[in-house]
């Protein structure tokens, strides 16, 4: 591939490192990474959340909320940080300057996704570790399935965020698309209202929203293969579409 020939690999590494640095220089990064961690600690110190509840099938509120709070990290990053970073670069003609350098569009997107994925992994790991070590949240029955659904779920929302990032002309336009997407996913993952307490039909609908599917896979609801297929579908459609429709200016 000519891109490989003309674009040194160290370029992609430097681009990824710089994007990570710039992201962490934004005060909003504290919200994306810090808020879910603060919430898990706060929830873990509410006594009522640590006692088994009958309407949650004998689970404690904290057991239900750890996966939900873990889901906040990739959602914040994919639905707000990623599209808004790219849109503001587009708005300020940063992308226009990059478009006359040897960086290919796919490389731009890849570097940004790599940063987001790494931060999401770190954030999720911290939350799960706090849950398990401090509040005794049990490891799920099928760790392989949970890991697979979380990775695919993060990939799905990153791909959707990437699609917004590829198209949105301005920061406000990006957040106008990204924030509703994030809220929809929060809802489906049970952040506002535990999924188990929703009407049955709504629970079924939520399984077709990326983090609804992840939450369902985590809690062992429905068919695992179906959830994984939904998530892989989002990634397979949105990812290539983003690379193809990428707008430099």
């Amino acid at each position: 591939m000519s891109t490989v020939l003309h674009f040194p690999r160290r370029g992609l590494r430097t681009l990824t490192a710089i994007q990570a640095k710039l992201l962490l220089r934004e005060p909003a990064a504290l919200v994306w990474l810090g808020l879910p961690i603060v919430l898990v600690v706060v929830f873990g110190n509410i006594p009522a959340f640590l006692t088994p509840a009958a309407d949650l099938g004998g689970k404690r509120v904290i057991d239900v909320y750890v996966p939900t709070l873990a889901a906040m990290v990739p959602l914040f990053l994919a639905c707000t940080a990623l599209p808004m970073t790219m849109a503001s670069w587009r708005e300020k003609d940063v992308l226009r300057r990059l478009s006359v350098s040897p960086v290919p569009a796919a490389g731009m997107l890849a570097a940004l996704v790599a940063v987001m994925a790494a931060l999401a992994t770190a954030g999720v790991a911290v939350i799960v570790a706090i849950g398990a070590l401090a509040f005794d949240v049990s490891t799920p029955g099928n760790p392989g399935a949970v890991l697979a659904s979380f990775v695919l779920g993060a990939a799905a929302v990153l791909a959707l965020g990437l699609l917004i990032a590829a198209r949105a002309r301005t920061g406000p336009a990006a957040s106008a698309m990204g924030v509703p997407l994030m809220i929809l996913n929060f809802f489906a993952s049970g952040l506002y209202f535990p999924v188990a307490q929703m009407p049955h039909l709504l629970q079924r609908v939520c399984e077709f929203i990326p983090f609804g599917a992840v939450t369902a896979a985590w809690s062992g609801q429905g068919q695992l293969w179906q959830h994984l297929l939904v998530l892989a579908g989002y990634t397979a459609v949105a990812g290539p579409l983003a690379a193809r429709t990428f707008r430099w200016e």
């Binding site: 674009f7 160290r10 370029g11 300020k92 003609d93 040897p102």
Partner: protein, 302 residues
């Protein structure tokens, strides 16, 4: 071999024709100017030869490459500074140069480049905190980081104060002196006159003329005018006898002579023979401004 060849370039956006018919050649090692008012098609021309836009007609070759089909190869040998382009607010000067250096196979040394362009003490400064002149110096540095054989500099000094503009001009000459061919896009006549070896005058999507700045001014057929106070009584007929002289007029002790061709040389030689010294000598020559009006039929509206 010409470094940049543009033949009958044509580019439309929907129903709007941005570039109708543009042809020119840029030779190795020169500073070639594209001069014209805003909206003349300068930026579109530059975007076509940088591979950002596909031409609707005509042929473009840059360093022997097709800018669209051989875009990746071109990026390694052509440095481009676009008119509107930015960097992230919080990116530091050193980081920007190291980032762009990493994209190239044989980049220049960022530290050396910062010294050369007077950015060394701003190495740790964020992009947003730089002055307009510093941002443009960084833009030149980024265009130069890949050790390009040619650079395109689009409206480099627009928005800069006169002092920063002059500093930037010096840097462009420095770039040329390292053997890099420069294509300079500008709507400042003064800039083209000062920097360019040759200029293509573009108006409404077409090339009006390609010549040296002096050649363009001469082509405009503008008269030159000189005024001075002769140190001794001067016989007007001595001057009128010269073929270059068209008119002689007196304003008190000051004589004003207008004419064409090598007027100044002819008159001063004649004065020397008559042993007269021209005190307070002032010479006004036709400028590119005059040439622009003469060649396009309308003033540069900018």
């Amino acid at each position: 071999m010409a470094v940049i060849e543009v033949e009958h370039l044509h580019k439309r956006y929907g129903h709007v024709t941005a570039v109708r018919d543009v042809s020119f050649q840029v030779e190795q090692g020169e500073i070639f100017g594209i001069l014209g008012p805003n909206g003349a098609g300068k930026t579109t021309t530059v975007e076509c030869l940088s591979g950002l836009r596909q031409a609707d007609g005509g042929r473009v070759s840059v360093l022997g490459l097709d800018p669209v089909r051989q875009r990746d190869e071109l990026r390694q040998v052509l440095g481009v500074q676009l008119q509107s382009s930015g960097l992230p607010d919080k990116l530091r000067v050193r980081e920007a140069l190291e980032l762009y250096a990493s994209f190239h196979r044989q980049p220049a040394d960022p530290v050396e480049l910062m010294h050369r362009l007077g950015l060394a003490e701003k190495a740790g400064a964020r992009y947003k905190k730089l002055s307009g002149g510093q941002q443009q110096r960084l833009a030149i540095a980024l265009a130069m980081i890949g050790r390009p054989r040619a650079v395109v500099l689009d409206e480099l000094t627009t928005g800069l104060d006169p002092h920063a503009r002059r500093t930037t001009w010096g840097l462009v000459e420095q770039v040329r002196d390292t053997g890099v061919t420069v294509l300079l896009v500008t709507h400042f006549m003064e800039e083209a006159e000062r920097l360019c070896d040759r200029v293509a005058l573009i108006d409404r999507g077409e090339v009006v003329a390609v010549d040296t700045p002096a050649g363009l001014a001469a082509r405009a057929g503008q008269r030159q005018r000189m005024r001075f106070r002769p140190s001794a009584p001067l016989d007007e007929e001595l001057l009128r006898a010269l073929p270059e002289v068209a008119e002689v007029a007196w304003h008190g002790p000051v004589v004003e002579i207008s004419g064409t061709g090598n007027l100044v040389h002819a008159v001063t030689a004649q004065l020397a023979r008559a042993q007269i010294i021209a005190a307070d000598l002032r010479v006004e020559q036709a400028s590119l401004d005059d040439a622009f009006i003469a060649l396009t039929g309308h003033p540069d509206t900018d």
